[in-house]
């Protein structure tokens, strides 16, 4: 039995005796090691790895669906569809990003609907959770969500977000802002700044 040791020495039945000179064996061993390392580095970008492609978190996003609701007047009736994420750090951000991308074409063909679509995929600026409050900071995409401020439209908008974030047990309340300013969001939604939204306190969005 012939083996190479970690330092390239050639062993035959445990004895240092080999047909190839030891210096050649050591060189071949070194080159092999270099090739393995290079292949591994290149593989990060190009070689699929079954382990790496496994989703790290799975959750639902919620959309309206008249077929499931049974009528078109139940603007706050939303239903889950599954999503997964490779993100390891911020599950709430992943869930909101998935929600804001809207239903897939297949889901739309099944009756799921939302103001959110690929056009609003970048709506989320940032989200953090502190003391049970999810602070959701949005980019200013009001022109793409004009219908979300009516009574029915706002019911759709808020319910989809609330139910999606409701999966995360640490979240008890949600405070919104646009570009870091709660007052802009709540004014857009035609809601007054009061106790329910911490009087549009900008502080938590300034100290991120």
């Amino acid at each position: 039995m012939k083996n190479y040791t970690t330092n390239g020495a050639c062993l035959v039945n445990g004895r240092a005796k080999c047909l190839v000179p030891a210096w050649i064996a050591r060189t071949l061993f070194f080159l092999s090691a270099v090739l393995i390392v290079l292949a591994a580095i290149g593989g990060c970008a190009t070689i699929p790895s079954p382990q790496r492609d496994q989703p790290i978190s799975q959750f639902s996003v919620y959309f309206n669906n008249d077929d499931l609701a049974g009528n078109t007047t139940a603007c706050d009736a939303v239903f889950p569809v599954p999503r997964s994420s490779m993100s390891t750090t911020n599950g709430t951000a992943a869930a909101l990003e998935a929600l804001f991308t809207g239903p897939t074409p297949e889901e739309r063909s099944q009756g799921y609907r939302s103001f959110f679509s690929v056009r609003t995929a970048g709506l989320l600026k940032r989200v953090k959770i502190k003391d049970g409050v999810a602070y959701v900071d949005l980019h200013d995409r009001r022109q793409e969500l004009t219908g979300a401020t009516s009574s029915c439209g706002s019911a759709e908008f808020f319910t989809q977000i609330q139910r999606t974030l409701g999966q995360f047990p640490t979240i008890e309340r949600i405070i919104f802002a646009i570009e870091g300013q709660p007052r802009i969001f709540y004014d857009w939604m035609e809601l007054e700044c009061d106790q329910t939204n911490d009087n549009c306190n900008q502080g938590p969005f300034m100290k991120w």
Partner: protein, 229 residues
Amino acid sequence: MYKVNFYKGNYATRQSKANMDKAVAYVEHHFNSSSSDTAGYAVVVTGSNASPTSKNWGRWYAKAVATFFGTQVGGDNGILVGGWSGRGDGNLKHTKMPAILLEPLFASNPQHADIIRSDRGQTDLARILVESIQRFFPNGGLIAFSVGHKYKESNPNDRGADLAGGGSEADYAEKVLNKAAVMLKAIDQTDMARTIRVVRGDTVLFETEVDEDALVVWDAERGLLNIPE
């Protein structure tokens, strides 16, 4: 008999001014919207502190719109007290007079949007609003009008929902209120009695006064409108 003022600025400011002017009724006009292009019902938001008059007025208006346009009423028999999760409550709750926020049709519904854009549809909506005001405020007075979304100092570019096929909610809400204002100002003292009208399009075929409390019953089988003596 009726005077009309349009109030502008932020919603709290509008309501405060209407209170100072001692308006007898406050109307804010919007249109509804949804991600569904088939959603279509009439609903009226009242303040969380709404009086029975506001609630009855809102229900009457929503039912009249739904009947006229062949839709249905939303909310609780046509009204959402305090709005959905408070949305719209701040638009009304600071008033000292009966106040309603109208969402008669859906801007997102293509058929509704065609009605909203049409001069005829605006006239029909204005007439229903005027009739509701005559019914609930028969003694006349100052009527406060507020165009939803538009003229806010905090967000001057807000026009509300886009209409399916083009246009903006607020611009058409303003057209309806402008027509209603003209109709209200044209009403003189002698028009203040409760009237029954038969109309074809914009043409009044028959008109008669009836007692304020008369129970008028339409018999669809016989094609008969029964007005008690």
